[in-house]
């Protein structure tokens, strides 16, 4: 189908964009990569009256490795993140995760800001953001503010951003090179939406005990979640097959997925166990390596 009619704006800078959002309110939507928005518009599921195209705002596209963390501008394309050498070396989990997004065309145009503010519960980047303890910087009428990943996702396609705010930057705190990591997902066909996805980061102290672990789950509810019970269980414990299996069980029990045409809730719960298991084993491998 063809989309409904709308008026189109292409602001030169972020202030103009915000002022347009304010002016047109509820019926205005930001257009970045368009890889999620335009399909919805073509299917007429979304019918915004005003489109604010932010692709001209070049200063929203950057990858900055600063002391203590990584700052990525909202308009940075998945492809740019995939190809970034600094991210490959210092944040390899991010490199792998974006390479799993969609397909080459989608990665060429889709943006990190768009993906995160779209908040699809099966989306790879929202799930990863939680595991990375990342946060976003948004700009609106009241100026700029930061939102922690934990406070950002509220439900299906819904974030705690105001309607008149624009996501400007994604910030990821430094990851120690000693940290093991993995991102795995279960899809029906390669590149489909994840039925279950798991992000794991883990580090082990000199005594062989886990001193930091993050396990984030996607596709198991209306938003990505951290498997807090499984994380608590693993802290201060030796990481081996037994503790990994137990952690995977706990994560599976905590998860409350819905059934749909792609997979039943029961199957998803079982897959949480399988994929948390795989994620932890792989992360452990990387720690040793």
């Amino acid at each position: 189908m063809k989309p409904f009619s709308f008026e189109y704006f292409k602001p030169n800078n972020i202030d103009e964009a915000i002022s347009l959002l304010n002016g047109y309110g509820e019926d205005a939507v930001i257009l970045a990569g368009g890889q999620s928005l335009i399909p919805l518009m073509n299917l007429r599921l979304a019918r915004p009256k005003y489109i604010i195209d932010i692709n001209k705002i070049a200063e929203l596209s950057y990858i900055k490795d600063t002391n203590g963390g990584l700052s990525i501008g909202a308009l940075t394309r998945h492809r740019e993140i995939e190809k970034s050498d600094i991210i490959k070396s210092k944040y390899p989990i991010l490199s792998k995760t974006v390479s799993l997004i969609g397909n080459p065309q989608i990665r060429n145009w889709g943006t990190i800001g768009g993906s995160i503010s779209h908040a699809d519960p099966a989306g790879e980047l929202p799930t990863l953001l939680l595991a990375l303890n990342g946060k976003v910087k948004v700009v609106g009428n009241q100026g700029e503010r930061e939102i922690d990943g934990d406070d950002l996702f509220l439900g299906y396609l819904t974030t705690s951003m105001e309607k008149t705010e624009i996501l400007r930057e994604v910030y990821i705190p430094e990851i120690s090179p000693k940290m093991g990591w993995e991102f795995v997902e279960l899809t029906k066909r390669s590149h489909d939406f994840a039925i279950v996805s798991v992000a794991v980061l883990m580090s082990i102290d000199n005594a062989g005990k886990c001193n930091d672990v993050r396990i984030s789950l996607g596709g198991v509810g209306s938003m990505p979640v951290r498997a807090k019970g499984a994380e608590e269980f693993l802290l201060d414990k030796a990481i081996n097959d037994d503790s990994i299996n137990e952690a995977a069980n706990i994560a599976s029990e905590e998860a409350e997925p819905e059934s749909d045409i792609h997979a039943s809730a029961k199957y998803r719960k079982e897959m949480v166990k399988v994929f948390v298991n795989r994620g932890l084993i792989s992360a452990l491998d990387r720690v040793r390596g």
């Binding site: 919805l40 007429r44 599921l45 979304a46 299906y156 819904t158 939406f193 209306s222 045409i261």
Partner: protein, 149 residues
């Protein structure tokens, strides 16, 4: 799509029943309800605007109340649709007393079709649950308001 659930109201059953039978109250609490009109004995027409984020649509439908057993049981049978899809189904409502509180047990069976069912399948039951909970929470808010008057 089969969904069911319970909701506990801090009010006696007679009161909760009256609320559920009151179309003005339903209109107020039904998420996105723009219009709820009585079209006959126990039969209504409604227009609702529902949406999550950018996905918004307007749906119109008819609902009938059947098998009414005051104050404990009734069945809602309805169908509706909009540009993005259609729905046909029924909900059985059972109101149980628990001392001075009421537990509403609801059970729904629905067929959903059209675009929203195809493309939105993986979010449908989750969104339905969220909207249902919102409805019950709003009913509770209104009940509490009335209690304190």
């Amino acid at each position: 799509m089969n969904l069911d659930g319970n909701f506990r109201f801090n009010a006696p059953r007679e009161k909760v029943w009256k609320f559920f039978m009151n179309p003005d109250m339903l209109a107020k609490c039904l998420p996105g309800c723009e219009k709820l009109e009585a079209k006959g004995e126990n039969s209504y027409e409604a227009i609702v605007k529902i949406g999550i984020s950018v996905v918004k649509g307007e749906y119109s439908g008819k609902v009938e109340l059947k098998d009414i057993v005051t104050p404990s049981h009734y069945r809602l049978v309805g169908e509706g649709g909009g540009l993005s899809g259609f729905v046909k189904g029924e909900v059985t409502m059972d109101l149980e007393e628990e001392s001075d509180k009421t537990i509403v047990k609801w059970k729904s069976v629905a067929q959903i079709g059209g675009l929203i069912a195809g493309v939105g399948q993986r979010m449908l039951s989750g969104v339905a649950k969220i909207l249902t909970n919102q409805f019950f929470k709003d009913m509770e808010k209104e009940l509490t308001k009335e209690e304190s008057l």
